[in-house]
Structure formats: C-alpha cells, structure tokens
Symmetry: C2
Subunit: 422 residues, 2 copies
C-alpha cells in the first residue's frame, strides 16, 4: 500500500502542476497538441499494435471471452478511428473562458461567471483501450489534467497509447503530465484514487454497475455515476401505429448492449391486440426474446420466442436482445410503472395526444424524456454535443450525456472600483 500511495502522491502532484498550466492555455495550443497526439499515435502504430498483441495473448491465456477480446483488439483501422476521434475533439468549440450570467449590481460591481476547467479528473475504466485516448483528448481540450486507471486486460495497450499521447503533448509544449496513466495494477490503488481529494477533483467511473457502486460507496471525491438504464417505451392509446414498430424496433435492436437501449415496453390495453403482434413479428426477425406479463402473453402466446415474464424482468437492464412487455390499463398506470421501475436514464412515450405528451414530459423524471422517438438518441454525439465523456444518471452537476462543457465549472469574477460592503 505504501508503494501505491507514493505513486498516487507523485501522479497527483504532477497532475496539479499540469492543471495549473492547462487552465491558462489558448484554444489554439490545445488544438495543436491534439493534432500532434493524432500524429504520434500513427507514428507509434507498430509499437501500439505489438503491445496490443501482448494483451490479446495474455487475454486468451486467461480465458477472456470472444466479445471481451474483440473489445480489447486494436488494428490499423481502429487506430485510424481513434485518431479521427481526436481530430473531432480538436474541431469542437472550447467551452473554457465563456462568460455568462453577467450583471451590474446597484453598487456598480460587475459580477459574472466565467467557465473554467474542473482541474484534475480521475477516470477509472475497464477493458477498451480506445477510452484512454478519447478521455485524454476531451480532458485536454477542456483544460483539465487527467489521471487514468485502465483495466489490467489492456495494460500494455494503454501504456503504449498513453506514451504516444504524452509525446504529442511534449512536442507542442503542453506538460506531459496533463495525461497520466496509472502504472500499478494493484487493486488498492483504485481505493486510494477515490479518496485522493487533494489531488483529484472529480472521478468518472466507466464500467459496469459494480464499479459504479464501488466508487459511490468509497469515494470522498465527487463521482459521476451513470451508465445504468432500464429504459421504457410507452405506447399510448392514441399512438400512431406507423411510428410504433419502427421506434420499438430501433430502441431494442439497433444496439442492444448499451444503456439507452429499450428494456420494457408498456402498451395501452386498447392497442395491445392490434400492435403487439406487429411488434412481435418485427422483433422476431432480429431474434428478440419477449418476456410478457400475463395480458401480453395471452396475445403473444403463439410466438415461440415469447414467454411469461418473472417480476424481476421489469427491474432488469437486459443489455441483450430481450424485451419485457406489459399491458397497462391507462396512461396513469404507465406513469406509475415507470415511476416504480425506471432508473432515470431514458424513457419515451409514443402518442398523438397533446395532453398526454406534455404530461409525460412533465411527470417522468428521467435524464432524457422522449415523445415519439427512439431512446437510442441519448448520446452526446446524437444530441449535437460532438463528444461524450459519460452519460450521467445522477442529478448533480450534469445529467444525461456529458460533453466538454460538463468537464468545466465556473468561477465568479467581480470587477470593482473600490466597493466595500455596507
């Protein structure tokens, strides 16, 4: 433990010093550094791929599943994609320095808020090595130093990528300590990181519910929690049939492994007979399994991929081609179900009724509330923010997709000419 503490102390001091430089850098300097990072990644391509091969070998030996190995794997094409991502971040608007909420007080004081970087961001993530570069680019662009602790499966890949990033920084005069990768794989280090208030200002855990829960339980630093979405689509009595099947299909099938994918379909009892078979026909083509409440099962029992739901199916984030279906008696029952079971991520109504649409938007207290659209849009890129650090399902600081602006805070700037408080 003493050893890992020293490493954190060292990383932390370097990060603080780097943050002090970063927060005053011009946008052009930060963009140059991002450009250089893209170049150094391409120059280091062979080194990175060799390091990645070492991780893949170790992963195969350790019996990692095929999907995990697939997520871990880098290739020339994937590196090119990573570099494109860095360029895209360079092209984004720099949120730092923006002045807002300005006012002149009766005593003549000019008071405004100015957007500034948060300082030092800690990121704890799991297997995918591209996260190393994505996060580095977003933190750099927003003027934050970052301390990253990646998963042990990607240890060599992450080191090679972080070295390339550091080289890109150095070439452009940005402190290499702007982006630091934790070298130790000691497990106690994560706990140290979560409690390093002097060195880190915000922790972003990127991983499964276990990681989020661990961070929440143990951190003394503010943590951005998120990533868990039990998402609902409610098909209202007045729903336009032409919109129902495409939205439900898209929300469930387009990418079932992510947090904004549909988990529970609620349907008004007066539309169930008509629409559930249409939905089942379409979902069946994509091999979606249906977990039906008794009323829905009565309608769908002839479909071989439909079965009777267990109560816990309505509290499950499936992250796979499984859909829970429940027939509700009324709009209010749908609201009540969502109130009881939603994780506050993304929930949608399909309706042509103005009052129900507005009431749904007012009543459903989730990070993203939709009318007549797929829940799959809850994403920084899709919302036009250009990038995404994480999706927050907590309520403080940021909610929903977090982009560059959510990596900033503000300070109050007060310009006077001698004012004192009466």
């Amino acid at each position: 433990m003493a050893g890992s503490f020293s490493e954190l102390e060292l990383l932390g001091q370097h990060a603080r010093a780097a943050a002090r430089v970063l927060r005053t850098l011009d946008t052009a300097v930060k963009n140059d550094a991002l450009q250089a990072i893209g170049e150094t990644i391409l120059e280091s391509q062979q080194t990175i791929l060799v390091a990645n091969a070492r991780d893949l070998d170790a992963g195969r030996e350790a019996g990692l599943s095929a999907p995990l190995l697939e997520r871990l794997m880098l290739s020339e094409a994937r590196l090119a994609g990573i570099v494109d991502g860095v360029s895209a971040v360079a092209a984004l608007n720099d949120p730092v320095g923006e002045s807002f909420d300005g006012r002149v007080l009766p005593n003549g004081l000019r008071v405004s808020k100015r957007r500034v970087p948060i300082g030092v961001i800690g990121v704890i993530y799991e297997s995918r090595p591209n996260v190393t570069v994505d996060i580095a680019a977003l933190c750099l662009k927003s003027g934050n130093a970052v301390v990253m602790r990646g998963g042990k499966e990607a240890v060599y890949s992450n080191r090679a990528l972080a070295d390339a990033v550091a080289l890109g920084c150095e070439r452009t005069g940005v402190p290499a300590a702007a982006v630091q990768l934790v070298r130790t794989q000691e497990r106690g280090f994560v706990l140290e990181m979560l409690r390093a208030n002097r060195h880190i200002d915000m922790i972003i855990p990127r991983g499964g519910p276990g990681l989020h829960q661990f961070a929440l339980e143990n951190a003394t630093i503010p943590v951005i929690t998120g990533g868990i979405g039990i998402c609902h689509v409610y098909v209202d009595e007045s729903a336009d049939a032409a919109k129902v099947v495409p939205i439900v299909y898209n929300a469930k099938v387009q990418r079932p492994t992510v947090c904004n994918a549909l988990d529970t379909l609620l349907i008004h009892k007066d539309r169930a007979d008509e629409l559930l078979p249409q939905i089942a026909d379409e979902l069946g083509k994509a091999d979606v399994a249906l977990c039906c409440d008794p009323q829905a099962y009565e309608i769908l029992e002839d479909y071989p991929f439909a079965e009777v739901a267990e109560p816990e199916d309505f509290d499950t984030e499936f992250l796979s081609l499984v859909l829970a279906i429940k027939v509700v008696d009324s709009f209010d029952d749908a609201l009540e179900h969502i109130h009881q079971h939603s994780t506050g991520h993304s929930d949608a109504i399909i309706t042509e009724d103005y009052t129900n649409a507005m009431w749904f938007v007012n009543e459903v207290d989730s990070a993203a509330v939709y009318v007549n659209a797929s829940t799959r849009f809850t994403d920084g890129g899709q919302f036009g923010l250009g990038a995404e650090v994480a999706i927050s399902t907590q309520r403080l600081h940021a909610r929903g997709p977090m982009a560059l602006q959510e990596l900033t805070t503000y300070k109050w700037v007060i310009l006077g000419d001698g004012q004192v408080r009466p």
Copy 2:
C-alpha cells in the same frame, strides 16, 4: 440503530412521495404555501418562544457560551425577521420549468434542457434555529422536499418551527412531508442520512469544518462542501492608496466571524512602508491583532497589536479580529502565495494595472475572484441572487453562493415525430 433506521426509512418514503408532488406544483401554489408558513409562524409565536426558552435553559445548564446562546435565542423581532425572509423567498423568481440550450437537430428532433428540482435535499446543521425556516422556504420554492437534522441545542425550537411550517403547508394543500425535521437526536442518524441514497439526492452540511469533513468522508450521496475561506487581499505595486485602507478594513472588520472575511493581507514591497502604517492605524481602531511576517513586522513593530507571525498563521481561517500580513517581492510571489494557501473561497487584488488585474482574475482559481472590491461581497444576497442556501467551495454542480437555481438540476426533453437512430 434499528430505531433510527426505521425513522429514516419512513421520513425518506414520505419525502420521495412529497417530492413527486412538489415538482409539479405551480409557482403560485408554492408562493401561497410560503405566505401561509409566514402566518403560521406568527400564530405559533408563543409556542415557539416557549420552546426556545426551554432550549436556552438547557443550554445554560450545559454551560453553552454566551455567543452560542445568543445565536440560539429567538425573540419576537427575530421571528418577524424570519417571516420577512420567507416573504423574500416567495418574491424570488421560480427557476423550475425554465427551458434552455434548445436546438433542432438535422433529423428534426427538438432537444432542450428543462430545469427541474433536484428531488430530496438533506440538510445537517448546527445551532441556529432560523436555518430551519430559511432552508425550508428555499427548498419549497425550488420544488424540493427536504429532510432536516438540526443541532441538539435547538431541538425544541426547531420542532416548534417545523410544526408551524408543516401547518402552513397543510393549509395550502402542499404535502406536509415537503419539510420534515428529524426527531431523533441519536448521533448515528447523521451517518445513516449521509448514506441514504434511495431517499436523499443531495446533502448540504451547514456547520464547521468538522461537520464538512465528516460528511465528505462518509457520504455516499453528493455533498455540497464549503464554508471554509482563507481569504486574501493582495495590494499590488500600482494600487490606488485611496482604495486600499477601506477595502482591507471592510474585508477584515465588517463581519469577522464569517467565511468571506479577510485572513491574509499580501502587500507589494514597494508599497509596504507607505501603506502598512495607514492600514495598521485604521485596523487598530477596531482592535484587530496583526500577525506580521518579518518584513511587515519591521515596519509595524511599534504597534502594540502587531506581532511576528507563525508559519501556520498563513494557513488559518481566523474568524475573528486577527489579520496575517506578508510583504511580497512581486506580483508573481503574491500569486504563488495564494496558490499555496488559498482555500478557493474569495481572493482579491487591489491594483490600477490592467494587465495585473486581468492576470490575477485568470490565474487565481477561487470561487470568487475580485478586483478592487472587498471579499465580503461573496454572498447570494449581495450578488443579486436573492437568497443563499450555502457557499460552495467545491467545484462540481455549484461554486460560490448557492441560491434557488443551484437547488435544481435539468432533464433533457426530446420531441420527435417518429425518429429512429440510423
């Protein structure tokens, strides 16, 4: 412990239910409730004063200091002041429902953020009973339910005030559980509260550094930390002498017991001989003790209230009529001192040099950064926010004075006509 857990469970469920109602209330309904609360407090005046007398008796028996008893004491005049405060909150703009950052995406989706209440706020506070009503009014106006845990010194006063608040809510059809006071004084309850993620969305500790540290260390719920300010005024080489003495005097003397009061005066070496005696003359009239670094002491040694500073004086929030003074060789040395010793609350420069003013504002990373004004302005009321829940010195969610808006979060509202993600 089992007993207190049950109380929290009960309070928490009631608070959640109340929050669900509160978040949909019209501004007019909330204002009516605030009006009614003012009336019920005045109607209950005798009951409240009797309860307060009981607290005061117990406090005297327990040997509370005179200042603590003074803070604990209520009177007809103080109750009238509390009621005026409630009316002032009613007059504030309701932040809930505001729509912002709206845009139309290329696919036709209308995306915007809508300001909504946070949900359930937990407040842990110490002796002053007026906090009970202040916080209740601010939470109610912003559509949040609140669970309050006051100090044991004010237990009867707080109960009487909370009963009056609940009655005001009931009279206007607002759930009485909108504002709940914790009844138990068991110490373990605070810890339970800090970890009640299911029931509470944000914790505001209002008290000394010990309480803040305890909350930070133990909470799994987001905590707003703040209230600690080692505040600096730097007198630059170019300072206008006519501004120096009034600002320093005001920042130190106007109310020395609060977090935005001045702690350390930094002065450029070329102005020390001229200005330090002027400052000492004025501060001497208010019985301010001066802790001087060796250079400052050389200038001020004839003042009986000047003495040589200990190193820790420059890391002390005095909260009293004591001022640390240091002579610096340059603007950069002043910045470096602030960087090393500031707690990020409020720091000021007195200068006529444009570049130094701008650079100070850029470089000093505190919640409030001042040019040519007293640090005492860091306050929700002074900044024109109308009220204040707390002053945050953390970096997430809110920084500096927190008012109604900082008791809100947002949700994304997405209005479509059948869009699916390609």
